[in-house]
Amino acid sequence: MPDLAPLTPLGGTTPRRDRIGGVTIAEACDWALASVTARRGRASDAAGRMAAMIGTALPGPGAMVRSGDWRAVWLAPESWLLAAPLAGQDDIEARLRDAVGDAASVTEQTDAWARFDITAANPARVGALLERLCNIPPARLTPGAATRTVFEHLGVIMLRETDDSLSILGARSSARSLHHALTTVARSLA
């Protein structure tokens, strides 16, 4: 097996970080991701087993929860995206599959996504950015909210974990388009 050098979604050897005005846009590669979708008629069974694994109930529509190292995001009815720190979690799919058994189907998602963490000392900056990014009103994307929507014709998942931060997950194959659009919007506000 050749010794392969890992590259970030933008193609660098280290994650890219841009500071524009009061906003930081940071490429982030530190989450292992997997989706969990309940099988027919097994939703409550799957949700119960997942809750036992991550230590809290799975989120409802439009929401995310954090519990210890785990983040769970509601994706669709009876379907969730699970994230955990990548270090020591390169077997996230196997761990989740062991937890849910035959109640749900688990799909490894880690390298399917590019993630950008947007932070600003002034939370109003995040809101100003958000209202130029997508048609979800910032007032609805409050801390704990997470939703899939469209940004620059790209399907993205918006995660609002705290008031002064926003994480955007987009297809890894569109990472550069996403980054270009994000930095353009940030520059227009700077």
């Binding site: 027919r40 529509p61 439009g62 509601w74 994706l75 669709a76 009815p77 048609n135 609805r140 939703t147 899939r148 929507t149 469209v150 399907g155």
Partner: protein, 95 residues
């Protein structure tokens, strides 16, 4: 146009794809007597009302739900939105 999603609240129509008349939920039984005529009607015959219309919308850029939206074709006023899954189950479909 804003579609009030039953789970996610008001969402821009940009996130949705129109998938046709909600009558498409009632797919005929292909093995039944007279199936050819039933499928001909299913595929080709549509009402074209000036007024309330029940139609399928797919939340393609959101949670990928299929919705049954009741919309007034004259005003675009939306009076009811249901998950297509619930509508199909209420009609005795298996899932």
């Amino acid at each position: 146009m804003i579609i009030p999603h039953p789970l996610l609240g008001p969402r821009d129509a940009q996130e949705f794809t129109y998938m046709g008349d909600a009558a498409l939920i009632d797919r005929p039984d292909g093995m039944a007597e007279g199936a050819a005529e039933a499928f001909d009607t299913y595929l080709h015959a549509r009402d074209n009302p000036a007024g309330l219309h029940r139609e399928l919308w797919y939340h393609e850029a959101g949670d990928r739900s299929w919705l049954v939206v009741t919309r007034d074709t004259r005003t675009h006023e939306i009076t009811q939105v249901e998950l297509a899954r619930d509508v199909a189950r209420a009609r005795g479909r298996s899932q």
